[in-house]
Symmetry: C2
Subunit: 150 residues, 2 copies
DNA sequence: AATAATAATGAGAACCATTATCAAAAGGAG
DNA sequence: CTCCTTTTGATAATGGTTCTCATTATTATT
């Protein structure tokens, strides 16, 4: 996820590479986790003093549309954004119901990736659906919250 | 998902079985799909004329907490509720990015269920996480929207 | 049955993440 | 520089959800 690639991507579509936009991409590149729009906003303001929250939302939308960023909704009322590092970089989630902690994992079981592909193929045919992505999340209690709740 | 079970469940916890509450459960039982709170509200009003939207939200929360109802968030800004029919009744989703259509499927591949269990076990150990549920969604374009977009 | 205690409810206000609006600023083409 | 398009920030508006609070319904106690 370094410069040239997304720069080309921008230019091809006639989008301008502005300071705000590249600052937002910088933040997403460095903090590789599930940032809310607000998180991004505060982080980017350290670089781009005057940036407005609207620009953050607009840019995030843009990046999602371009496929450079993934948008998640874990059910706590705010969207989360994360750099889409393509095939490699794809991961699934463990989400704590108590504290909201989110754990990424990409050390899939050997069967895991293969089966998901197989399911996708099967479902595509059966439902005439053109699948381009999937999301697998596990919900429960994290280590710390297990004690706490008991 | 018929009477006695959830009635007991309610009484055990000291919750009252009111007309509104059982009307809401009725609606969820009959319309077996992903209803928004508003959907439920309008549907229930046919039975319980004076019911307020706040009661719908409160009751849905209650039912989710009790494990009788599942709450989903497919990223369109509104939560969806659906009767949790336990082990049987569990299903995964196909979601159209264009029109928002949601397709349930529970005709899992034979390997599908087994593998998910295996992953859960593995993840539980590795991350000391107590997993109690999972959600698997596939995103893409439904049959109708494939033509439209092209 | 009457009374007291508690739980549930409806109306509407409040909340809060996200979107829309719009005038100003910045960037690019010539 | 000039014209035209895109981007931006401030702020208002939106819309789903939650909160507040006075009223009502249900249950427990006498
Ligand atoms: Mn993630
Ligand atoms: Mn479903
Ligand atoms: Zn936790
Ligand atoms: Zn569709």
């Amino acid at each position: 996820m370094h410069g040239p690639r997304w720069r080309n991507n921008f230019e091809e579509r006639g989008y301008r590479i502005t300071a705000s936009r590249s600052a937002i991409l910088d933040v997403l590149s460095k903090k590789r986790c599930h940032l809310t729009a607000e998180d991004v906003f505060f982080e980017v303001r350290k670089i781009q003093k005057g940036i407005g929250i609207a620009t953050v939302y607009r840019t995030l939308d843009l990046l999602v549309q371009m496929g450079l960023v993934c948008k998640f909704d874990f059910g706590d009322g705010r969207a989360r954004y994360e750099l889409a590092s393509g095939e490699k970089g794809h991961h699934h989630h463990l989400i704590c119901r108590n504290c909201g902690r989110i754990i990424n994992y990409d050390d899939f079981l050997t069967e895991e990736t293969g089966l998901v592909k197989k399911i996708e193929k099967e479902l595509s045919q059966k439902h005439s659906f053109e699948i381009d992505a999937h999301q697998l999340d596990f919900y429960g209690l994290c280590k710390d919250c297990q004690k706490e709740v008991k």
